[in-house]
Subunit: 185 residues, 2 copies
DNA sequence: GCCATATAGTCAACACATTGACTAAACTTG
DNA sequence: CAAGTTTAGTCAATGTGTTGACTATATGGC
């Protein structure tokens, strides 16, 4: 963020032309300048969500790097669901991971062919198939998630416990509110 | 979250079997139960990032709904970059929006055919093309972002100013740290 | 029991994004 | 200035997601 050149003779420009801006510092640049073009803008809200979005993207990208070529993050999510709630129908996996039925269908088929999950027709409901993590699936999940979680811990440790608590509380409140508001509409 | 049936005769189960869990409440369920299978787990870190991830996904999905069929969120990002920093090379758009050059190339071509941006060969550098938002592009961006930002404000207003400030500060610190750590490796 | 309706999973069509190879235009360094 | 290297943009291949149509099975009212 050293603004090297491109300063007016009278000192640093008040409205930099964005030459030194990068992905992350664009948040700041936008917050300072966007109000000029868009007087209706709620700058605080825009800056808040842009910060959330970009910071989160950077951090999650870093954490995801731990998975490397082992498995996709969607696969990890599915396996974590299966290992914590136990064997579940495809629909349930879709709901708990947040993906569509079609995506879950495709993913679980891939995971089956990799030997990480088993798919059995349900005894209770002829339409359902019950998916379960195989022993190999459990091992793969364990190994991948171990490194993934270690990297989560690496970042989490860089927050004050109080900061982390505040963030969790605030986001939980909003998330609960989303579900509630959605339910009404 | 009413746990209707499936309670042991002696009262609510201490370790629910997950029958009533949904996408959001899975965070809680996971935090309470995953440690059993994975004793090495940093539960706080896992819960923190799962909360962040899922809450953010829910909220962003809601906000994105304001764009509806008007434009993709990638298109909005690109147009916001172009309208705030002004005409830029394709590479610069890619950097500031966080997409790959190939993705930017495809997106900007689409936007050009929709009449929202113009693409001119650069006078300075024969390899570059300079992209600018057209008047129609500025209008489309303005209209779409107005509603988008209103929805951002809707959620932002549901946070204490102090909570929002804490979150911004904490995430900014981590994001800066990501760039720094990445630069070293 | 039968028929209308809803639900679980799959499939096909489409929408993007990523990676890596490729082309053309810059630089760089003797 | 010529040869090698880097850089900007594009293209093709691939991966993975969504939506909506479709099939087979359940369910509920009569």
């Amino acid at each position: 963020m050293t603004s090297s050149h491109r300063e007016s003779p009278t000192g640093p420009a008040e409205t930099p032309d964005g030459a030194d801006v990068d992905y992350w510092s664009f948040v700041d640049y936008f917050a300072k300048n966007a109000g000029r073009n868009m007087p209706w803008l709620d700058t605080d809200a825009a800056e808040f969500f842009m910060t959330l979005h970009r910071a989160f993207e950077l951090i999650v990208y870093d954490i995801r790097g731990e998975l490397d070529q082992r498995m996709s993050s969607a696969a990890l999510r599915a396996l974590l669901v299966l290992t914590t709630v136990g064997p579940s129908t495809l629909l349930r996996v879709a709901e708990l991971t947040g993906m569509s039925r079609a995506a879950a269908s495709a993913l679980l088929k891939r995971l089956e062919s990799d030997g990480l999950v088993s798919r059995q027709p349900s005894a209770d409901d002829g339409r359902s198939i019950v998916v379960a993590a195989t022993p190999e699936g459990k091992v793969a999940c364990d190994e991948a998630y171990r490194d993934y979680n270690a990297r989560e811990a690496f970042w989490h440790d860089r927050l004050d416990p109080e900061e982390a608590e505040t963030m969790k509380r605030a986001l939980s409140r909003l998330a609960a509110s989303v579900s509630e508001i959605r339910r009404r509409s």
